[in-house]
Symmetry: C2
Subunit: 452 residues, 2 copies
Amino acid sequence: MSMEIEITSEYIDQLKESIAQKNSGYLKDQLHELYAADIAIVINQLDLNEASYLYDLLEEQVAADVLTELEEEKREELLSTFSTKEIAEQLDNMESDDAADVINELPEEIQEEVLSHIEDIDQASDIADLLSYEEGTAGSLMAKELVCVYINDTVGACIDEIRKQTDSVDVMYAVYVIDENKKLIGMLSLKKLIISHPLTRLDEIVEPDVHFVKTSATSEEVSELMQKYDLVVLPVVDQLGRLVGRITIDDVVDVIREEAEKDIQIMSGISDDVDSNDRLWRLSRARIPWLLVGMCGGIIGSRIIGNYENQIQIHPEMAFFIPLIGAMGGNVGVQSSAIIVQGLANNTLLGDTISNKLLKELGVGVINGLICSSLIWAYSFMIESWKLAATVSIALFAVILCASFLGTFVPLTMNRFKINPALATGPFVTTLNDIIGITIYFLVGRLLYHVL
Amino acid sequence: MSMEIEITSEYIDQLKESIAQKNSGYLKDQLHELYAADIAIVINQLDLNEASYLYDLLEEQVAADVLTELEEEKREELLSTFSTKEIAEQLDNMESDDAADVINELPEEIQEEVLSHIEDIDQASDIADLLSYEEGTAGSLMAKELVCVYINDTVGACIDEIRKQTDSVDVMYAVYVIDENKKLIGMLSLKKLIISHPLTRLDEIVEPDVHFVKTSATSEEVSELMQKYDLVVLPVVDQLGRLVGRITIDDVVDVIREEAEKDIQIMSGISDDVDSNDRLWRLSRARIPWLLVGMCGGIIGSRIIGNYENQIQIHPEMAFFIPLIGAMGGNVGVQSSAIIVQGLANNTLLGDTISNKLLKELGVGVINGLICSSLIWAYSFMIESWKLAATVSIALFAVILCASFLGTFVPLTMNRFKINPALATGPFVTTLNDIIGITIYFLVGRLLYHVL
């Protein structure tokens, strides 16, 4: 078993030094010890000159694997120094789905040129095929490499066929069975194949009950299906039911992680998929839209408070609790909508009606509202007037109820109109609750101070 | 290929009606058409009587699969109506890891009794073994079912051995090779096994370069390793390097999803793992701690503003922009910390020092701060006094910078002290930024109004 080298920043610094000294012997030894995924992590941290130098030292197959694993921006940077022919050589050593992903990132004007340089005609046509599917569909996720045999064969003939086909397949989880029209009939588990007699006919051991998707299925549908039924590989068929590819769980794991990250970013008010290695301007542009939304909310808030200028002049203590009311409305709204957003993502809301959800959230709101407002009553009654204490605690209770309602209602409604409900957990609901909270607070205040 | 029935609330209502009419013939037909995962979704939505009735109609193996897939609370409810012997019968039909998970949820006093009723002695000892590992470790995640052969065998003998062993294994992705001390030597891919001659010795085709973990590895380490190297199955060894189990990717997919959900909940100020089907009191208790944190923040805020009571009396317009300052500090802080939390989760922060991150975030803060504060200057100069306009825009700029700094610094520091940095993205940083924002705002205000 190979030693695992941990990729630390010290280790990367050490490699950088060796690159500066052009110590190719030492570097080759090191690269030999590393997995492709680890080499990619190293290269992600190098500047372009260092990265090119190190990349050139890699063996052909490893180089292709590393290229697949690199971060998108680093890969673009590196490939921009390659000729179209050199890019084509790399793609020749990749699985078709990875190759299609890489080509998709290239500038359109050179995509065709790269394709024309790929030596393996089958590979080139597989890639061209995959490029035709829309992004985010099963077609764009799948790879063309798979092992399939005809339903009329025997186990022995099938194993011979597998010997021939496995050249193009890295790992093989299942063997698909098709009929003479290439229509998917079922699956052979490798286990059954190994333990069956060579003369057994495939139609005796085929498992006809196999999950599959059409090329047009969305990646969310694919990931849901594979998670629900614990699938490792999923065959993809075209509109006529013909087997055209397969999706493996490792690609879906990436989809799941990206989905979760996208939701977290949206909830945090970041509108674009960015990470902390992105450039300053991109980071800043991804955040400004929601800041402006928040600012509009703040301005509306200022107009509302502006209406009560006289009251504040007479009772400046009214201003003390503005931040508390705003913050609590925001917090409760975020909590409620996070629960709903997760329920929607996990399909655990099924069978429950919207009104049930609302009732339950309002129940939680009543409990938490009573706890919080009696605490704030006790505090403010001790150190402020009873009028202020009553205003703050009544308003707080109303704000918590109102935020529970909105935090439930808004994401459910967004979901019904096919808008990502995670948007509701972010600055949108927070801003809305801020405004509503202030309105309630000053309304209650005016009522108590002027009427009583 | 089987038809897939979509589980809608109409479909569930239909089944409920048939249960009420005790129409077991129709229900059995329906259950026959459904996958275990789908039956579990249905049962999750039934009350206990309905669930018990439907569950009793299931075939033995399907019943065990459904039990595995049920939501934890529904499973507990259902099992509480079973005798320990009946529970043991279900566990006999499960994979060892699923069985151990189920037993773990039972009250401690009956765990031993259930174990003693399991007929298959090997299964019982496997389960007892798995129960001894701490939760959240590779040992608790793994299953004991695996196929392993000795390094000295030939391919032919190995296939015979596989025939014997596969009874206990549902799906088989790889065959592990061990030495006479049960130490893990390497792996055989099924592909190689199928295409090799029966007389080939295993040591000629064994792949010694295999990833593995120790039983004590954390589930995060397992999930990181499997994601990084795109593994479908990972062998687990004990302290002596002996093969004791294997972890499959579908279990890890659940870990990944649960991690992401936990982070979202923590970021939203929910302290316990709850979902919207949980009981009212549990939902409410999971949220109250962070609401109280937010309330303390609000009270501190009220004390700070209290110090400026006279100023507010003279210049009540100062109060107008309190919500804006608070909201913007919160929004910017959440954005910054979300980026850092994700970077930490994805290990993309490697090689970057904390000070680099801080500088970059401050850069983004300066850009967005300049944009926002010039806009607010323009707005407030038009409709308020120049002093208020200057106060608001200077304070807003300072608040945005400060929130960028804290949003970066706090999660990085938490991470260094092994505290989940997602905590920082939630009410904690929001509350802190609220307080700091108000302090800055009134300080700037006093300076401008009194000094100038």
